[in-house]
């Protein structure tokens, strides 16, 4: 039996000024699968995630997340997902526990339940003994683990991971993927991830979509991508599909507009 779709995107377009970050893309993510969104810098991955997570409004196109529209039903969509952003989004001046507690209150979790869950999750990501320390004393890997734990407090149906292993050591990366894989198998959670580490995507993703210049250029399982491009590794397939040019990515939509303006005048 075909599994139902938990994310549906149809003809999605997002423009910043006259720069098109996402150019008419369509895709589905099935319930319970690990879906990897791969692409070079500036391909439109983060913009797509921001639209799916209600942070940006699309220019046109249809989006459904857990059966709701991120524009019309933003609160229902927000209840459905947890997210680990590309860059940290913790409050450094609060302790690990306080950051977790803060999240639990924002997601309307009963204080008794949340206390239990927070302690349980902190134990899972091996931060129990540091829970009363200020986050500013944490290393990058510890912050990442804390963010993942935080994203799971409200038992999301979908977990968005935007380059979650960037800058982490192999131990932490291994730990995270194992943990996330566990969550999908045990809880039936769906994972939508982006990463630049092809071997990670190869290992964890059920299906992959490759996006470049705002368009999806290839999709399917890792095996299919490798077979279609006659490549031995996913990285080779990726490079064959997206080329070897090094991309320039601006820091913010505004910079992107400026960058575009500069290219235009040249």
């Amino acid at each position: 039996m075909e599994k139902e779709n938990i994310i549906e995107v149809k003809n999605l377009v997002k423009k910043f000024g006259n720069f098109t970050a996402v150019d008419n893309i369509s895709f589905e993510v099935k319930k319970g699968e690990v879906f990897a969104f791969l692409g070079p810098n500036g391909a439109g991955k983060t913009t797509t995630i921001k639209i799916l997570t209600t942070l940006l409004t699309p220019t046109s196109g249809e989006v459904m997340v857990n059966g709701f529209s991120p524009i019309a039903d933003e609160d229902k969509v927000r209840h459905s997902f947890g997210i680990v952003f590309q860059d940290p989004s913790l409050d450094d001046e609060l302790t690990a526990y306080e950051n977790m507690e803060f999240h639990a209150v924002l997601y309307h979790i009963n204080p008794k339940v949340s206390k239990e869950r927070i302690n349980e999750l902190l134990k899972l990501v091996e931060l129990s003994d540091r829970k009363d320390d200020l986050v500013k004393t944490f290393s990058g890997g510890m912050k990442r683990r804390l963010e993942i734990a935080r994203g799971l407090i409200h038992h999301p149906k979908i977990l968005f991971l935007d380059e979650p292993t960037l800058g982490l050591d192999p131990q932490t990366r291994n730990f995270l993927w194992k943990y996330i894989k566990d969550m999908t198998e045990k809880e039936g959670m769906t994972v939508f991830l982006t990463t630049h580490y092809m071997e990670e995507a190869d290992k964890v993703a059920d299906r992959i979509a490759i996006i470049d210049h705002g368009r999806i250029i290839e999709r399917g399982s890792s095996e299919k991508l490798k077979k279609d491009t006659k490549s031995k590794t996913l990285e080779e397939a990726f490079l064959k599909l997206t080329g070897h040019d090094i991309r320039e990515e601006a820091a913010s939509p505004k910079d992107r507009m400026k960058l575009h303006g500069r290219l235009w005048r040249r």
Binding site: K50, T53, T54, L55, L56, T57, D75, K76, R78, H79, F81, I83, F85, D87, P88, S89, L90, D91, D92, E93, L94, E98, E101, F102, H103, V105, L106, Y107, H108, L134, S252, K254
Partner: protein
């Protein structure tokens, strides 16, 4: 209620944990009180206006609240840069509540700063006239604090980074302070100057504070409270709207 409370609590915890910031933010008001209070005091007395410290202290309390409140509001930019803003923006709660919680938290912190400056001014000779008016003084402190935290939030909601920060200090905060009657009596000023001061919301806050603390008034308590309260409401509404439209 949970959202507003936790946002409020966050501001207080952050404030309490940064002792350096608390001390740092007291340095400037103390300098103003001492340098201006003792420096211009004799001239003020000669001009027949009485004790300058008595006149100045409410103005400096208002100043410290203005500064802290604007900084608390502008913190939105820091939260944007350090990423924490996103955590609150993807949460399934109304952004109006988040903005309100932030503003009340920032305003509470700014009011505490104001109270600290009041205590310090007592040490250097300021004497409130009527203790029964103290609650009214606190109302004015809190109104000033909410108004300018909300204004800071509104401005910061439209800014991407800290580059505009100097502009805000020089073109918003400084004029608000110097053109508010915090430092000098407004009764005998030239007409044009009086109008400018009349257009500055802080003037009403400081006049109200001064009335409550010393009994000296220029504009009248009723006018002060009505202007300040209605502006606070309007600016908070505008701030909430701009905050709710933030895209990151």
């Amino acid at each position: 209620m949970g959202t507003i409370y936790i946002m409020w609590l966050r501001e207080l915890k952050r404030f309490w944990r940064s002792k350096a910031r608390i001390i740092g933010s007291l340095a400037q008001p103390i300098l103003f009180l001492v340098a201006l209070g003792f420096g211009l005091g004799p001239i003020f007395k000669q001009a027949g206006d009485g004790n300058y410290i008595q006149f100045l202290a409410p103005g400096i309390i208002g100043m410290s609240i203005l500064f802290s409140a604007m900084f608390m509001g502008i913190q939105v930019i820091w939260d944007r840069q350090f990423g924490f803003l996103k955590e609150t923006l993807v949460a399934p709660v109304s952004r109006y509540r988040i903005m309100l919680g932030r503003t009340l938290g920032g305003a509470t912190v700014a009011s505490i700063q104001g109270i600290l400056v009041l205590l310090i001014s007592l040490l250097i000779g300021f004497r409130p006239q009527n203790l029964a008016m103290m609650p009214i003084a606190f109302v004015f402190m809190f109104l000033i604090a909410i108004l300018f935290t909300a204004l800071g939030t509104a401005i910061a909601s439209r800014l991407e980074d800290m580059q505009a920060f100097q502009l805000i200090i020089n073109f918003v905060i400084m004029p608000l302070f110097f053109l508010s009657g915090a430092l000098f009596p407004i009764d005998t000023l030239p007409q044009t100057f009086k109008i400018i001061i009349g257009l500055n919301p802080l003037s009403y806050g400081i006049d109200g504070l001064r009335t409550a603390l010393t009994g000296i008034t220029h504009l009248g308590l009723l006018l002060d409270v009505s202007v300040l309260a209605s502006l606070t409401l309007i600016v908070t509404l505008i701030g909430s709207y701009l905050f709710s439209k933030i895209e990151v």
